[in-house]
Symmetry: C2
Subunit: 361 residues, 2 copies
């Protein structure tokens, strides 16, 4: 097939350089005679791979001392349980900000274990905004405050980091991890499913401040206890070795491109091109998200006439622009433009949108 | 590096044909323009991959109607919690056969949730045998009977399937899944970490009889409930897509080689060569496992003089025979010879063992 630009929300496009390197190393990693998939996780070859991956991630995010980096499995959905079960300790309640589909799932799962105080919600306007922080009804005794920095389905992104107010901040960064600079020291815990900005699915990367370990419920399955994995440097049992290897290649690729800072400006430019295409269309395209909260990762938009959606998707595909259909929960279109989406792909989409609007407007 | 034979216990050697195909498809799967790692798990391309994988596995194992096939994460270690938490129902106790390291971990984790009745143990002779079934102290009210069909570390394998006696059989088949014919209808639940006979780590394959679903503890995390994944055909959230793809390629490779029946005779021949080399060495090599229970997957042996271990490993490596060091828990040597280990590799090892014994005997 001809070159395509893949706007999937995740699993999503990976850097071509990373895939090409994985391809070249598939049968023999660095002269070991083994594929990475065939390596004992406790052998020196894989130990080097996981060590490098952690080292590079720490460097990319300027992770301060006192934080553990964990490579886990089960996706962000597993964290919706693990976070309350590990961090509740002797508290009775947690604070969660509700800004869309993924926040709601975090609320729903946490409610099975404790009281959930929804400190603020933008459901009244279909999650078009992040409620102003000074309106949040926070509980000073909450075990933590959880928010979703980027709502992959809704296309909403936090433009700020909430104040901690003495309560640990927990953030689901699945879909904007490594896409912009973050001061890790403000957080108690950050987690991210890999399949957007990190690597293949089946891997979760988690940063946790060490003083938050050791609060797990006594009956928690051993494998769900952060302490289990922290004490064993993510090697309590066999980790997802190949996804960790690919993540490590992605981290090296990021470093070569100027790190997170470099990505942040690239991502701002890419998102700017698409939001400009929407705004310049004089209503042919529109997004319901208020301007300050429009995601730089998932650009969600609709056509003025829903009946045009099918031909938009079909013609886009003919132009090599694929996976643009919005999530079934919100409908419309969604262009996911994670770190690995080259600006050429975004320009191609913006041009296509302009042409399509001219033909059908 | 020159060709090596990799005897790692897992992650372990994969079929060369599978890795070569994965390499050729790395940048573009079947003309889709995407790597499998970049595909939306809900797109038609990946749906075809996971559907084929399940279909081929069902065919290989002759899975009868009434069983769900699940593709999960977290390794067999996660199942040590999930099995009791899902299957206990209103029962108070479970039966477990203790035949080594992995059985003991299953016992330890299950004890956190219920009474564990160890029906039999071979710990008295360092797990050299499987206790005769007619000596087992079974509880007719147990929620299930759990056993480990092959102890990867100890090198012990069950030569029989226990009778169910009206109690569901649960089997950890991590290290001999698909290596010999199994009558699935005898089992309530079978699980296997992928990284021995299936594919890359980060994937667990599980077969469960449908009538055992729906007994989970009410406070079980959603992601740990088999019902969650059964109802969503393993797509409740993003599964480990790339490991599932590789597993699917392995299943097709198995079918081409005569399926499980074909593997069973190959594996018997391979194991026979190594046990013959041990027995023919006149005490230079020895294994403590009683003959009927010697594993066809993990051949565990010692040298008559422990001081020779380092030079055995070093000279083996010079001959391209790697990852032969036994698990630290039992020491000695271990040759893991899963489905993907070619008979040429086993012959090379048997010849090397003979030569080494001659030189150092």
């Amino acid at each position: 097939m001809a070159k395509v630009y893949n706007f999937s929300a995740g699993p999503a496009v990976l850097p071509h350089e990373v895939l090409a390197q994985a391809q070249s190393e598939m049968l023999d990693w660095h002269g070991s005679g083994m594929s990475v998939m065939e390596m004992s996780h406790r052998g020196k070859e894989f130990m080097e791979i996981i060590h490098d991956a952690e080292h590079d991630l720490r460097e990319l995010m300027h992770v301060p001392a006192g934080y553990k980096v964990l490579f886990l499995q089960g996706g962000a959905s597993m964290q919706f349980s693990m976070v309350p079960l590990n961090l509740l300790g002797d508290k009775q309640s947690v604070d969660i900000v509700n800004t869309g589909h993924w926040s709601k799932l975090a609320v729903k799962e946490a409610r099975r274990y404790c009281h959930v105080n929804v400190v603020a919600s933008s459901e009244d306007r279909n999650f078009a905004y992040v409620p102003a922080e000074d309106t949040w009804q926070r509980d000073p005794n909450a075990a933590y405050l959880h928010y979703t920095s980027n709502e992959t389905i809704g296309g909403l992104q936090f433009p700020f980091v909430p104040a901690d107010q003495g309560v640990p901040l927990v953030c689901d960064m699945s879909s904007d991890f490594l896409s912009r600079e973050v001061d890790v020291s403000k957080f108690g815990l950050i987690y991210a499913g890999a399949q957007k900005n990190i690597g293949p699915s089946g891997l979760v990367v988690l940063l946790v401040r060490e003083d938050l370990l050791g609060r797990a419920r006594a009956d928690l399955p051993t494998m769900l206890n952060y302490q289990t994995h922290a004490a064993a440097d993510s090697m309590y049992n066999t980790p997802a070795t190949y996804p960790i290897y690919i993540a490590g290649l992605v981290f090296k690729w990021l470093k070569q491109l100027g790190g997170v800072k470099g990505m942040e400006s690239r991502n701002a430019e890419k998102a700017g091109l698409l939001y400009h295409a929407i705004e310049a269309s004089e209503g042919f395209y529109h997004t319901h998200i208020d301007a300050p909260f429009r995601s730089r990762m998932n650009v969600v938009f609709r056509l003025k006439d829903d009946a045009l959606e099918e031909s938009f998707l079909m013609e886009a595909r003919k132009n090599g622009l694929i996976q643009l259909k919005g999530h079934r929960v919100v409908g419309g279109m969604r262009a996911s433009i994670y770190n690995a989406m080259p600006i050429e792909g975004v320009k191609a989409l913006a041009n296509f949108m302009q042409d399509f609007a001219r033909q059908h407007g």
